[in-house]
């Protein structure tokens, strides 16, 4: 009998050519390859931005931002002519682009705040609460007193809307979080909170606040003034807060300096070692209201 048996040659059966170890290695390698392809697809595949209920980023936002910055620094306040508006825009955007617009923090806006410093003269700060239009009409004509929106950053951002999205480095021009969507840490709210705080911290001397006397609560604790600005005034720099309680010309006078809402403000301010004074229908601001109602009794 011929002494030959067929030995198991690797070429005969390809699937069993490899050793067990090699098979395992190959299997794992294949799995890893598939996994990395899947991950790459997930990461690189263009995703749609998150959808929100609120108005989107203002159309032509970068052009409007840059234009306003340049008008402010070159024309309105030429002492700030050396500010680099393109840099300010880029630093501003970095606070919120490529991020989830509900996860914005104060620190995100810190580089912007460091970049733009504007010192205002003492006794020239005007806060406002529920009286924005009237306050701005007053500062525009008076020219020497500043609301937040008369500072560079406030001027640029007033009435604009913006937000980003994790899927893109561009701003979201489709939608942004609405206040009703339980998203308090959105880019716009955080921005105003941060610069309101800085505005209050920098104030000195006698500061003013314009309140709306035609509301049931002229001083509203949950407003930006009531929750941020009042508590960030520095008692070492600010020795007095003067409130102007303005009533609508047409409406009947309701709350005034002697009301409970203003008294609440008085207590808060005095507790912080700042003197408090109040005036009903401060005359220069009343004149602004009289422009629309020149024949009204209180305009005589």
């Amino acid at each position: 009998m011929a002494n030959y048996e067929f030995s198991q040659v690797s070429g005969d059966r390809p699937c069993c050519r490899l050793s067990r170890k090699a098979q395992i290695c190959l299997g794992i390698g294949l799995l890893l390859l598939i996994a990395s392809v899947v991950v790459a697809v997930i990461l690189l595949w263009p995703r749609a931005p998150l959808v929100w209920e609120g108005k989107p980023t203002t159309k032509h936002f970068p052009e409007i931002f840059l234009g306003r910055c340049l008008v402010y620094t070159q024309i309105l306040r030429p002492e700030m002519r050396d500010q680099d508006c393109k840099k300010i825009l880029n630093t501003f955007k970095r606070a919120f682009v490529s991020k989830n617009p509900c996860n914005i923090t104060k620190e995100d806006y810190e580089p912007l705040v460091q970049l733009v410093t504007q010192t205002l003269p003492c006794n020239k700060t005007l806060f406002w609460s529920k009286s924005k239009h009237l306050a701005h009409e007053y500062t525009w004509i008076q020219g020497k007193i500043f609301t937040l929106e008369d500072t560079l950053l406030g001027y640029i951002a007033d009435d604009l809307m913006w937000c980003g999205d994790p899927s893109t480095s561009d701003m979201n021009y489709d939608s942004c979080p609405h206040w009703s969507e339980n998203c308090p840490n959105n880019p716009v709210s955080l921005f105003w909170k941060v610069i309101s705080q800085k505005f209050a911290e920098a104030a000195c001397g006698v500061v003013q606040v314009m309140l709306n006397g035609s509301l049931s609560e002229p001083f509203y604790k949950n407003s930006t003034f009531g929750s941020v600005e009042v508590f960030n005034l520095d008692p070492n720099k600010v020795h007095k807060l003067q409130a102007w309680v303005m009533h609508d010309i047409e409406a009947d006078s309701s709350n005034s300096c002697s009301g409970s809402s203003i008294n609440e403000l008085k207590l808060i301010v005095e507790k912080r070692n700042i003197a408090f004074a109040c005036q009903d229908n401060y005359r220069p601001v009343r004149f602004v209201q009289c422009v629309k109602n020149p024949e009204h009794a209180s305009c005589s």
């Binding site: 409007i64 340049l70 008008v71 004509i141 009435d159």
Partner: protein
Amino acid sequence: MAAQGCTLSLWLWLWLWAPLLLPLLRGARAAAARWSGPGTTPHLQSIFLGRCAEYTTLLSLQPGNKNCTAIWEAFKVVLDKDPCSVLPSDYDLFINLSRHSIPRDKSLFWENNHLLVMSFSENTRRLMPLCDVLYGNVGDFLSWCRQENASGLDYQSCPTSEDCENNAVDSYWKSASMQYSRDSSGVINVMLNGSEPKGAYPVKGFFADFEIPYLQKDKITRIEIWVMHEVGGPIVESCGEGSVKILEDRLEALGFQHSCINDYRPVKFLMCVDHSTHPDCVMNSASASTQRESPSLFTAVHASLIISLLVALTSSSQV
């Protein structure tokens, strides 16, 4: 050795004379401003585009897409022209692309009170002066011109009417003024400065030469003139006086119904914001601003009624 001596003396010479020469050179450079007006506003294009975007996005009263890039392209052709050869017609395409309608009764013409006009108009909410119309808004407070002998903008100075008539900025405002007049309708308001020493109505000016002639009589109901005086300021002219009378006579001759008010109350309140305790700012209805009107049909009817009444009274008393 001689060469070294020469170099040394050259250096000595420079060291001695430099303190005198340098200031002269610097002064010479500064004195070399070619024209009498401010130079091109830095970042002109970005400001222009930003304002255009803001106007068409945030202030827009009507639908219809304005292409800000195209508007800029049309505007910037003047930046390639000789600074004293820019005509109002060079802005025709720019005006054509940026033109939009002006709401009836909302036009406000003015002379010598730019800031007051801006405050009173409230950013198109109350009235719409030329600086609140797109083709007036983009260029407001800006300056621009090409260099005299080179391409590129002149940032040092730009010509005014003192230097030459056909300069870029004046031609812009002439062109914009003419269009603004053509598109105005209803009640036309004119705010003049009665404290201006040279007269409230400049007989040669944008209003006189580039606005009045282009008003469309068939679209206009009447013209109301407000002569404002500075708080505590000099009363140089009032309604019916001086150059204001010249204006009133001209409007009369052109066939416009017109009236004139001294210190129009709503504007006066605005001027008084910063002077609330000044005696000029004690506003009572009794001292209401005085009014002069053109002899209108209404007045004529009124007069004839009074005459008839008087005649009736006298005749009845004779009986």
